[in-house]
Structure formats: C-alpha cells, structure tokens
Amino acid sequence: MTYDFFNKLFGSQIVAALIQSLLPLFFFILPFALFAVWFERKVSAHMQDRLGPMRVGWHGWLQSIADILKLIQKEDIIATENDKPLFNIAPLLVFVGSYAAFAAIPFSSAFIGSNLDLGVFFIVAVSGFVVAGILMAGWASNNKYSLLGAMRSAAQIISYEIPTILVIVTIVMVTGTLNLNTLSEMQTGHFWNWMIFGGPTFGIAKFLLIPFMILGFVIIYISTLAEVNRTPFDIPEAESELVSGYHTEYSGMKFAMFFLAEYANMFAVSAVVAALFFGGYQSPIGYLGNLIGIKWFIPIEQLLWFTAKGLFFVFVQMWLRWTLPRLRVDQLMAACWKYLIPLAFVNLIIIGLITLI
C-alpha cells in the first residue's frame, strides 16, 4: 500500500523502494533500539531496588542518546593482529541479518516492507546470516575469548533454529500459508481467533488445538531467546566467563552495531512470535476506527497494537534476563536436543492429526 503511494508520489520505482526499505530503519528500528536500551536499564534497575538512569532528561530518557553520542566519539580500535577486512565486515553482517528480517514483518495492514509469500521462511533464513557475522567477529578478533564465544554462539544459534522451524511448520500446517501478512489477516476479529487459542475456526478441533498451541508457543519462545543470545542462554557473551564474547575487541560504532543488532533482533523475534500466535497487528478487542467510522485510523491502531505486543515480549525477555542465571554450554545443547526438539516433533505430529479431524 505504502509502496504504491510512494510510487505515485515520486513516479519512480527505485525511489519508492528505497523509501519503503528505509522507513522501518529510521522510524522503527533505531528509535526502538534507543528506547529498548533505556527501557532495559529501567526494568533491570527497578527489579534490583535501584532507580537506574535519572540524570539525563525526565527519568533519564535521553540516556541512550547520550550513550550513542559517546560511542560515536570513541576511537575505532583495530588491533594489529586482527584480520582487518573480516573484522570490519562482521558488525555490518550481523546488523544486516537482523535488519533484513524486518522486511517481511507486517507492521500493520498498510505497511509491510515486502509482502513475501515466503515471509516466515525468509526471516528464519536471514537470521541465520547473523551466525556468519558472529563467527567472523570471533575469528577476526584474534582473541581466544572471542573465538570461544563465537564458536558457542554458532553452535547455539544453529541448534535452536531447529525447534523454531518445527514450531513454525506446525503453524504453516494449520494455516496453509508462510506469508506473515496473510497469517495476521487470518487471525482478524477478536482474540479468540488468535492461533494460540486455536485459530479462526470453530468446532472441536479448535479446543483440541489450544493446549498444543500453547506448548508450541513455549517452545518457540524459549528457542528465540536462545537465538538472540538472551539470558538464560547468553552464553556467547557470558560476561563472567568470556568477558563479553565475540564483541570483546570491538569499540565505538562497531560495538554499537552489535548492540543495535541485538535489540533489533529482540524485537524481530518477538514480532514473529506475535504474528504467529498472537494475531500480529490485529486488535484483540476491535477497532476504534470502525466504531467512529474513520477508516484511515485503523492501520495506525494496528501499528500500535503490533508495537505493544512486540514490546510485551521484549519486556518478558528482559524480565527473564534479570531473574535467571545462565546455563552452561553443554546444558544448553542438552536442553535443545534432548527436550525441545523431541517435544516440537511430538507437537507437530499431534497438531497434524488434529487438523485431519
């Protein structure tokens, strides 16, 4: 929708496509990352009987802008023993991986970066890109801690992609589409049409589906936590063991890239979970725009609902981070291969049988 609008406005497909692809970056990812950094500091502070940043602006809301300004001023250190080309490319690659995922995420019915038929599949594929960046960073740093962190990270992200994909497959099986926009449209109406409550159908199958959908949601949420390296799975950057893992040697804006990518990724996976199970941008209680008869207001409401849902899951990620200790690397692998993957398979089969009814 927005693409057509820009196309008509500028009369050039290239300009329209450029604007379309930069819109989420400047109007969503960057502001969100800045907000999330501040939000995380506030959440952690209040969980720990502290106040957190209070000096810069009202309740410290300018803190992350001050941080970014500081990072921009920092010297860009490249040690002599680093593998320079790889060292420079790695943060970009990590950021590109998480940025590209936003292309297929439907923010509202009026805006989706690219309405791909293979939406979810595309997101899973480009998030795999991040692994390459992390491995590069670890290797190019020429630091044993970074290398250990990168190796752990690669193993972890690749392992946890399997349960994620298995759960996505169950949803695809029920709905018959990989397109996140279509998926969100299907879950329109009220919250009982969300996939976690069995989807938009009615009848016995819906009620049979609910427990298994909840199980699927738990599995995908745990594995996305691992994919974005959040506690209890923050082993690649385990501060107390590996100093800070693969980005130990990075300073200034390159470090900020990793940081930005982490927070962008947090929102991306939360958005995918929201789109798969919680109706995406759909409102759970109906729209104000329908009530008062202003149609153009609906997409804005949808954007707000979508942000709220994504933010809620981001908050849960933060909550877990400041509550739980960290697993050891072998326990992490055991959790994936011994519990999550078999459970996801069983879930897949059972949901498959239910959909046959």
């Binding site: 952690s44 969980m47 720990q48 009987d49 502290r50 044993k144 801690y145 250990l148 506690t231 209890p232 923050d234 082993i235 385990a238 501060e239 107390s240 063991e241 590996l242 100093v243 400041w322 509550t323 739980l324 200790p325 960290r326 697993l327 050891r328 690397v329 072998d330 326990q331």
Partner: protein
C-alpha cells in the same frame, strides 16, 4: 560431572595436537580481584589450572616488623578487606594472649556482635558475587542492599564502612553508639525474610542447581589434606568450627549450630553445598547476634587497653574462625615495642591451592563456578 574426552587423534592419525593455553585474569570480571589463572584447555575441557598470585602483595608481614603492636591493626584490616573486623578480632586475641591480659566482658560481647555482623556481610558478598558469576545479577544487588545496612551499623560504631581499626588489643576504640542496640535489633527481623528471598531467587533455582550441583566436588579427605577450613571444609561434611571446637572469646555462651554440607542437590562437597553452607551460616550468625544483643552487659570498654604494649619475650599462635576459614596469627616478641615477626595464616591462600584439584576435567564455565564457591579474597591471598 567431570567430562573425559579420549584424545586418540594423535595416536590414530599421527597428527600433532596441542592444548590451548588460555590466560584468565588478572583483568577478568570474575576472578574476584587480581588473580591470574593459566588454563590448559582441550576445547572447553580443562586439563590444568595454575593460579599465579602476587598482584596485590603489600608486604604486610615485613611492614609489621617496623610497627608497634597497635600500629599493625590497620594493616591487618587490609588483608581480608571483606572481613576486616574479624582480622582485627584475631589479631587482638593473639596480642592479648601474648600479653596475658583479660578484657572486660562488654568488650567481648561487642567483638562477637561485630564479628558475626562481619560474617554476614562477608557471606553476602560471597553469595551475591557467586550469583553474578553464574549469570544472575539481581541477587547480587539484593545482597549488597542488605550488606549496606550492616555497613551502616559499622559506620555508626566507628566511622568507617570497610576498614575499621575498631578492635584494638585490650579493647575496642569506642563504646557502641547509644542507638546501636536498637538498630541492630531491627536488622534481625528485617534480614530473616531476606534470606528466604535469596533462597527463592537463587538457591533453589533449577538453572542455578544445574550449574553448581555435582560440580567441583571436594571429598573430605582431599579437603583435610589440603588444609581446607571454614565453610569449604564444612560443606564437605565435616563439623569443624573453631568457634565451638577451639572456642575463644565468649562463643561458648551462645547457642548455635554448625551447618554442614549434606549433598541436598548433588554430592556432598559440591559447589552448591559450599554455597548453601554459607546461607545457613548467616542464620546461625543471626542467632548469635540476637543472644549477644540481649545479654550485653554495661561497662567500660577502653579500661584494659594498655598504654604501652611491650610483651615479654615469647611467641604465640592464635586462631579464629574467619568468615572464610581458619585465620591464624603467629606473633613472636623479642621484648621490644615492635613485634619481631607477625605471620598470618590466611584461609584464602590455602584454599586457592585446591583450584587445580577441583577444576580438572570440568569446562571453562565451571571454573567460574568453582572459584566463586571457594570464596577467596585476593587481598588476603597476597597480603
């Protein structure tokens, strides 16, 4: 759970393999100070750990030879800076033994109250940082929040929050603040629920148990052979506490238990036991403080402090139960104003020796868990 990897690659293929040497510290977030561990790794499995110490060496023992007896007290503070009160306590007892003087009863009570508060404060640091090492940052701040309250009590008593110079040979420097007893009594009902909170948040957390139970098991025999004492020895299942077994001051007047490791979540003597013994000890310390606050007599606290400490020729070894273990002082006097020799036997230094024994066959992440669980203070390792 020790992981053994068969290294047959060299034998089968003729390829040369070598272990990776990883330098952990001295600037590492979880070596608890400036400790350098040289790790020999095979992948992430540890083959050998060599601790390198001395980054904090301040020549305390040599300095002490040029000081008069009371002047040594601030140096003693700086050994185990998380348990300064207890270092002073031990030193004061040793000098008093050398002089053969008796201190007023009120002084003994004050010393015990301070010592036990210090034990709680020290254990809070140990438990909190241990949680942070495992990855749980929130319990760390909760522990420090409670420790602040104890430090405020200390500040009220002697003006300092970390290095007190409060317990002197022959007495204490000041009497208690008039409001101290009331505030100390308020702390006890405040702190009891906080121990439960710590247990809910960290001790019984499934992930925490996974990380610490059955890791770094210290069998009793090895512990005794290495001279381990304090909570680490008790966690291995041996009921040995100098407060009861070689009683000093007025500890025989109080009713308290000595918690030992029972292997509730794994094997006796694993990291979780070493952690949990400290949690239980905090409750026992609260019991002692409660009794001492009720029984404390009125009296003078500075009357027994000698104007000039000039002990007769002789030597003495005296030991106390520091929060970390047996803290012994060997003092030799040649009859002058200065000690001829002051030797401290610190628990942290002795405990560090067990690292290689405990870490072999574990993973890199376990080193952090093990190092945190034996709770060393580098200030006292290097002295």
């Amino acid at each position: 759970m020790a992981i053994e990897i068969e290294n047959n690659i060299a034998a089968n293929t003729g390829l040369k393999t070598e272990h990776m040497i990883l330098n952990m510290g001295p600037q590492h977030p979880s070596t608890h100070g400036v400790l350098r561990l040289e790790l020999e790794l095979e992948g992430e499995i540890i083959k050998k750990v060599t601790p390198h110490i001395g980054y904090l060496h301040r020549c305390f023992e040599k300095h002490a030879e040029a000081m008069s007896y009371p002047q040594v007290v601030p140096y003693v503070d700086r050994m185990d800076y998380l348990a300064s009160m207890y270092n002073e306590f031990g030193y004061a007892i040793a000098v008093e033994k050398l002089l053969g003087i008796q201190v007023p009863e009120r002084v003994e009570y004050i010393r015990v109250i301070m010592g036990e508060f210090q034990r709680i404060a020290s254990h809070l640091v140990a438990l909190g940082t241990y949680g942070a090492d495992i990855g749980a940052v929130t319990p760390f701040l909760f522990c420090f929040r409670d420790r602040e309250k104890i430090l405020s009590l200390f500040e009220m008593t002697c003006g300092a929050r970390l290095l007190y110079n409060y317990i002197w040979p022959g007495g204490v420097s000041h009497d208690l603040h008039p409001d101290f007893i009331r505030q100390a009594k308020e702390f006890i009902p405040y702190f009891r629920p906080k121990i439960k909170e710590l247990n809910d948040l960290l001790s019984y957390n499934k992930i925490f148990i996974d990380r610490t139970a059955n890791v770094g098991i210290l069998p009793l025999e090895t512990a005794i052979n290495y001279g381990i004492s304090g909570p680490n020895l008790r966690a291995s299942g041996f009921k040995w506490d100098l407060r009861k077994d070689d009683t000093y001051s007025i500890y025989n007047k109080f009713d308290f238990d000595i918690p030992v490791g029972k292997g509730l979540k794994g094997t006796v003597g694993d990291c979780w036991d070493r952690y949990f013994v400290r949690v239980l000890e905090m409750e026992e310390s609260l019991k002692i403080i409660e009794q001492a606050l009720d029984q404390i007599p009125e009296g003078d606290v500075t009357s027994a402090i000698p104007k000039r400490i000039k002990p007769p020729v002789g030597q003495v070894y005296s030991r106390v139960e520091n929060p970390r273990g047996e803290l012994g002082y060997f003092i030799m006097s040649n009859g002058s104003l200065n000690p001829f020799r002051v030797k401290a036997r610190g628990p942290s230094f002795v405990h560090l020796g067990i690292m290689n024994e405990l870490c072999k066959g574990h993973m890199v992440a376990d080193i952090i868990a093990i190092l945190g669980s034996i709770d060393i203070v580098l200030g006292e390792v290097d002295r």
